[in-house]
């Protein structure tokens, strides 16, 4: 039997009973007469159809997913001081937990895919938790990405595809909707929550060969809810994408006021590796129900890429601005040009990139940071930070390639392969502000950032000095330039940023029973009041940061891999940075430099002392500016249980101390056990 629509079956049952119970005319006064085709309804036999059931699923239902137990034990020598009003604070000296402090990943993700035919499909993922909270039998569950609808409509001239409903990981272009993919210089010890099965040597071997690790669909994309419409196979090699919906910055729960993200791109492909396109994105919101005061971030760009498989030339440039109805701002331009010389030119592939991004070229969800992204309000910025796209903090000392707006600069990267078992690469970036963007600087913690971020997730201005900013799997801290122009309250000169990264990968015993891999990353950067081509290593720089990360992993046997790791981090500020933190009249963290030991009270600074502070750097000025040392080391065991299951154990010893801001004194251990099973 060809399965018909539910309406027909219901109509059949309804029409039948109607016919049995009386004349059709009986129902007419209330408009419930049988359908026009009622005369052709089939006779009744057997049970009536179950309520609204239409048909047997035509074999298009699949269910898959994974189970991921992640248990951890953190022991601090002393509790870390956090804001007492933060409900998510998680810094007692001892934590025994199951599941990360982040919402994701769930303990179990079960994904359903449904293809009822006609080019339509539906997907949904259950996010099941169970964090051993002592409430067995009553643990709520949720969706992860939500209910997603898909469809493809073939036409004579193009193929229309669309995605509706829940969260879709999508992108337009680097500057309009994407995230920075990175140059893959990092420690391999920590597994990402979304990674598949693969022990440390599996991951290491893949990393050595390909320079990356396996990731899911979200990599370099952004979360988007709403409608994503793709037109492909257009004449002339054109393809188009249109977005209309919500990003975390424009989704305000239970607030129906118009807030949306809309954009699109039109792209022409010249060959599989070359294209040119035009892109647009805008994030729109209203601050009042009368929709009189609109806030908008808007960008238009052109982008393109040409590649012959080895050499590559890519660019993106455009204009953007952010505005409110009451405060329009002029457009600002942006340009990013990247050229990768083929190996045959100089023996090694070398990539050069130039960029210049106006301070008015702002985007929450792009491959560049926007420290000044305040156009849609605080909620939007926070949401952007939570989504991993935007930054709410100041000018940052970032990895090579991670650019920011209000900067002009360049990146250089080169990859060397002196032997089959040794690879190294070098990254170098240098940039300078276009306008003075303020006196706040941010630097991240590479060594213990993940552990520190679990203290309090997604929170700004926390800690004893209210200088920590916690984002997804990371923490940064704010410092303040105090050498300011009295007339403007801004640094007297434009601030410059430099970063150099060296990445070494050594493969040992590749063909042996116990292959091993060494992975080392050095990152050295500085922020200064003058531009220099390379990082400054003396105290003439506002801020200096050095990070060393070393991993060693070895295959013990077919089922077990061992890994060892260590890291060291140094962050130093000079005499032009603050030695005191306080809150201004709006409750925002500020920094000032006073004579060491001078009390905030009576200093003449406008604002208040950090509540409850009685220590150096908050109640009174510290001896100097930021002066941090951090290290960690540890070991791990990866056990292959089966082709679909693995067990991953890590133990960290870690410490972070600031010589001058002595309340930032963290030391302890963290042990984690991850069991991951795919089905």
């Amino acid at each position: 039997m060809r399965h018909c629509g539910w309406r027909r079956l219901l109509g059949a049952a309804g029409g039948l009973l109607l016919a049995a119970s009386g004349a059709w005319g009986q129902a007419s006064p209330t408009g419930d007469a049988p359908t026009a085709s009622g005369a052709a309804l089939p006779p009744a036999q057997g049970l009536p159809a179950p309520g609204h059931q239409v048909s047997r699923l035509p074999g298009g239902l699949t269910i898959g997913g994974y189970y991921r137990f992640w248990g951890w034990n953190r022991a601090l020598e002393q509790p870390f001081r956090v804001l007492t009003d933060n409900a998510f604070a998680n810094t007692p000296p001892r934590v025994l937990g199951v599941g990360d402090v982040y919402r994701d990943p769930p303990i179990m993700s079960m994904n359903l895919a449904l293809r009822p035919g006609g080019g339509a499909s539906l997907g949904m993922d259950w996010a099941m938790y169970g964090h051993f909270l002592g409430i067995p039998g009553t643990v709520p569950y949720n969706l992860n990405l939500g209910v997603n609808f898909y469809g493809s409509v073939p036409t004579r001239h193009f193929l229309l595809g669309f995605q509706l409903g829940g969260i879709h990981w999508t992108e337009l272009s680097g500057m309009t909707l994407a995230s920075f993919p990175g140059y893959e210089r990092y420690s391999l010890i920590e597994r990402w929550p979304w990674e598949g099965i693969g022990s440390s040597m599996d991951r290491g071997a893949y990393f050595f060969e390909r320079g990356t690790i396996n990731r899911d669909a979200r990599w370099a994309r952004q979360a988007f809810k709403g409608a994503v419409i793709d037109l492909s196979e257009l004449p002339g090699g054109l393809e188009a994408r249109v977005l209309w919906g919500k990003t975390p910055a424009t989704a305000l729960f239970e607030n129906p006021l118009e807030r949306y993200t809309a954009g699109g791109r039109l792209r022409k492909a010249f060959n599989p590796r070359s294209y040119a396109g035009v892109n647009h994105i805008q994030h729109v919101g209203y601050a009042d129900v009368q929709a009189a005061n609109r806030s908008r971030v808007e960008l238009w760009t052109l982008d393109g890429m040409w590649s012959d498989g080895d050499g590559e030339l890519a660019f993106e440039g455009g204009v953007g601005h952010y505005e409110t109805t009451e405060n329009p701002t002029p457009w600002g331009g942006a340009l990013r040009v990247r050229a990768k010389a083929p190996r045959r030119w100089w023996g090694v592939p070398v990539e050069l990139e130039f960029f210049r991004l106006s301070p008015r070229f702002v985007n929450y969800f792009a491959n560049f940071f926007s420290p000044n992204a305040q156009a849609l309000g605080t909620e939007a910025v926070l949401a952007g930070v939570a989504g991993g796209g935007a930054t709410a903090f100041g000018g940052s000392l970032t990895d090579v390639g991670q650019i920011q707006n209000n900067r002009i600069g360049f990146n250089v990267n080169a990859w060397f392969e002196p032997g089959p078992n040794f690879k190294w690469n070098l990254g170098w970036s240098s940039s300078r502000e276009l306008e003075s963007g303020g006196n706040r600087l941010s630097m991240g913690h590479k060594i213990n950032g993940l552990q520190l971020s679990r203290f309090v997730p997604f929170t700004q201005n926390l800690g004893p000095y209210r200088r920590w900013n916690s984002f997804y799997r990371g923490v940064s801290e704010d410092v303040f330039i105090t050498d300011l122009d009295p007339a403007t309250g801004l640094p007297a000169t434009l601030t410059s940023f430099n970063m150099v990264q060296l990445h070494l990968k050594q493969r040992l015993g590749h063909e042996s029973k116990h292959p091993a891999l060494l992975n080392y990353v050095l990152s050295a950067g500085s922020v200064a009041d003058r531009w220099t081509p390379v990082p400054i290593f003396d105290s003439s720089a506002y801020l200096r940061a050095h990070y060393h990360e070393l991993d060693a992993m070895v295959r013990w046997n077919e089922s077990v891999d061992l890994s060892f790791f260590g890291g060291w981090e140094q962050i130093r500020g000079n005499h032009q940075l603050n030695n005191l933190y306080y809150l201004d009249g709006n409750g925002v963290t500020r920094g000032a430099r006073l004579e060491p030991g001078a009390a905030f009270v009576g200093s003449g600074l406008q604002g208040t002392a950090i509540p409850g502070a009685s220590y150096a750097g908050a109640a009174y000025a510290a001896e100097g500016s930021v002066h941090q040392n951090a290290w960690h080391w540890g070991a791990g065991v990866d056990i292959r249980i089966s082709n679909q299951a693995g067990l991953y154990i890590r133990h960290h010893w870690f410490q972070q101390q600031d010589q001058n801001f002595t309340e930032d004194r963290i030391a302890g251990t963290e042990t984690s056990v991850e069991l991951k099973i795919f089905f």
């Binding site: 219901l10 009986q26 408009g31 057997g46 179950p50 449904l114 539906l122 729960f253």
Partner: protein, 594 residues
């Protein structure tokens, strides 16, 4: 076998031969539905602006969002388990996710349906859990839709979903309880069917409000051309389920009906139904004495047997009915529309956050304005939408006749038409001795204009008009100031028209115009908790609603479609112009049944 002989009728036989047979090899079958709705709304009009009303200054609405963007995605997944040939378990879960919720916010989970059914010993059919019950329009019938079901295709995607969501299609009430039926035969009857059901309408609060149950019994018989039966439906409280109260109410309907099918060459089908109701209140202070009243209906339908000629596909129906003033039938008179509900979209307006009166688009789009439970008393209705027979055929205090015509020629230009005229009057005056007189016209036609052009690209028009007029002469000869008091002149008209032009194989262009017009004066009965009229409220209106809509739809299959629609609602009240508004909406709607 002596006496009655059990027959296997619906049960195992149906399972073997029916559509379910294909799935017998499948012990677990999945079913369900999905829907994604993304919409952008704009509101404008006098409501939002400051204005002068009766010499006073009325500030504009500063609360209503002028622009809204929202959406929801939901997924109903049903599992049908068939452990054996005589048993089936159905469970449907619903997951909803709102557009504005990221990372798990705005997600809801519900059990939408859960029931088991089967056949015991191949003789007795049962269903326990969620039930769909329906009898006749005087006993148990969910037939009080206020806009009817003759809608242009553009709106069917909405109304079908509402009916699906609320389980209110084809007159069924969704109930929770037990339904058992079986069919017997005897030497005197060809077939004798018995049925009983017990469902729960309301659960006790354990203190003062007792459980409320619905019970029904049905006995149907057939012999030759004749069939008929007896039905009893009772809505009743079970007083002992509330610890501190002995109060209980009950309302029971008894009904008998008989039908005669056409004989060999005959064209007339004849039928009649009659019955009475009893209403009782026990241990309720101030309650009236038990009430009893009845109804009677007779009808005849003439069906053309011509396969050619002018009468082909035509049938005529003539009806006469009388429904007493005290006739109460909760199963038939309960109204699905909850006029006190606030719409899930823009539910409140004005600076006082009043509930915004429901409009045509609310009734068409929002399942939340419908209620699934039966009411012991007569519920409020909105005369703007239905006034002459607000409780359907079972509207009390009515007597009248109706003539209906139906013409069904699916392959012709006028592929389907129907016209119905109702004339009714009251049995007893309300407030004054004079009686209301009512006339109702309901006409619908479906035009397949593509028949004029070869029929390759379906181009179907749906045109539906429902018009009512209610009149009553006012008091006369009582002196100045009283002259004309109580006079009623109420006119209401509802038009729903539109087309669906399938200009590509799966792609259609749609357009619709809906208009609702209500004008005049009516007196609405105010009732106490015992359903007694305690006052009349004078209701005047000069209201107009117009809805213009256009859309594109793509059909993946018969039950999966994607719609892009724009609609604009213009609501104008000549008596309260300061509340006029326009409400436009873009919708991207993906509806999927599997």
């Amino acid at each position: 076998m002596k006496g009655a002989k059990w027959l296997v009728v619906w049960g195992a036989l149906g399972w073997i031969t029916g559509s379910v047979a294909q799935a017998q090899s499948e012990k677990i079958v999945f079913t369900g539905a999905g829907r994604s709705w993304l919409h952008h709304d704009r509101v404008a009009g006098a409501l939002l602006d400051s204005s002068e009303v009766d010499g006073g200054w009325m500030p504009g609405d500063t609360v209503t969002p002028r622009r809204v963007m929202a959406g929801v995605a939901l997924f109903d997944l049903g599992v049908i388990a068939r452990p054996d040939r005589a048993t089936e378990i159905v469970a449907v879960t619903r997951v909803t996710s709102t557009l504005d919720g990221f990372w798990g916010q705005g997600v809801g989970f519900q059990v939408r349906e859960l029931y088991a059914r089967g056949v015991i010993g191949g003789r007795i059919r049962y269903r326990v859990g969620d039930l769909d019950l329906r009898l006749t329009p005087y006993t148990l019938w969910n037939g009080n839709g206020d806009l009817g079901n003759r809608l242009p295709d553009l709106w069917r995607v909405w109304s079908d979903w509402v009916d699906y969501d609320r389980f209110q299609r084809d007159g069924f009430w969704r109930q929770q309880g037990l339904d058992v039926d079986a069919v017997l035969s005897s030497r005197f009857l060809d077939e004798l069917a018995v049925r009983g059901a017990l469902t729960k309408q309301r659960t006790t609060d354990y203190f003062f409000q007792p459980d409320r149950l619905l019970g029904l019994a049905e006995l149907k018989g057939q012999r030759g051309l004749w069939n008929g039966g007896y039905r009893m439906v009772s809505l009743f409280d079970v007083a002992p389920t509330a610890q501190f109260s002995t109060a209980a109410a009950s309302s029971t309907v008894h009904s008998f009906d008989v039908q005669r099918k056409p004989s060999g060459a005959g064209r007339w089908t004849l039928g009649a139904e009659a019955g009475f109701s009893q209403t009782r209140f026990v241990d309720m202070a101030g309650a009236p004495d038990p009430g009893r009243d009845g109804f009677v209906e007779a009808w005849g339908r003439w069906t053309a047997r011509d396969t050619t000629g002018v009468w082909r596909g035509v049938s005529w129906t003539i009806e006469a009915r009388r429904v007493g003033t005290g006739f109460r039938s909760p199963g038939a008179q309960s109204r699905r529309t909850d006029w006190a509900a606030n719409s899930s979209e823009w539910g409140f307006y004005t600076n006082q956050e009043r509930v915004r009166p429901l409009t045509t688009v609310d009734l068409l789009q929002d399942p939340g304005v419908y209620r699934p439970t039966l009411s012991m008393g007569l519920q409020a209705y909105n005369p703007v939408f239905r006034n002459a027979m607000p409780y359907g055929a079972a509207t009390p205090n009515r007597q009248g006749i109706a003539v209906a015509m139906r013409r069904d020629r699916p392959t012709e230009l006028f592929s389907f038409s129907e016209l119905r005229l109702d004339w009714a009057t009251e049995l007893a005056g309300q407030g004054i001795a004079n009686l209301r007189n009512m006339a109702v016209l309901d006409g619908y036609t479906r035009l397949k204009l593509d028949r004029l052009f070869g029929g390759k690209r379906p181009f179907a028009w749906d045109l539906h008009l429902h018009a009512e007029r209610t009149e009553r002469a006012g008091l006369t000869g009582l002196g100045e100031g009283m002259e004309g008091l109580g006079a009623i002149d109420w006119k209401q008209a509802w038009f729903a028209g539109g087309f669906n032009w399938q200009f590509q194989r799966d792609l259609g262009l749609q357009f619709s115009l809906l208009t609702l017009r209500a004008q005049g004066t009516e007196y609405l009965a105010q009732r106490d908790v015992f359903d007694r009229i305690i006052d009349y409220r004078r209701h005047t209106a000069d209201l107009q609603e117009r809805v213009l809509a256009a859309g594109l739809n793509y059909r993946f299959t018969d039950s999966i479609r994607l719609d892009l629609q724009y609609r604009a609602l213009f609501r104008n009240d000549a008596l309260l112009a300061a509340y006029d508004y326009q409400w436009s909406q873009w919708s991207l709607l993906y509806t999927l049944f599997f």
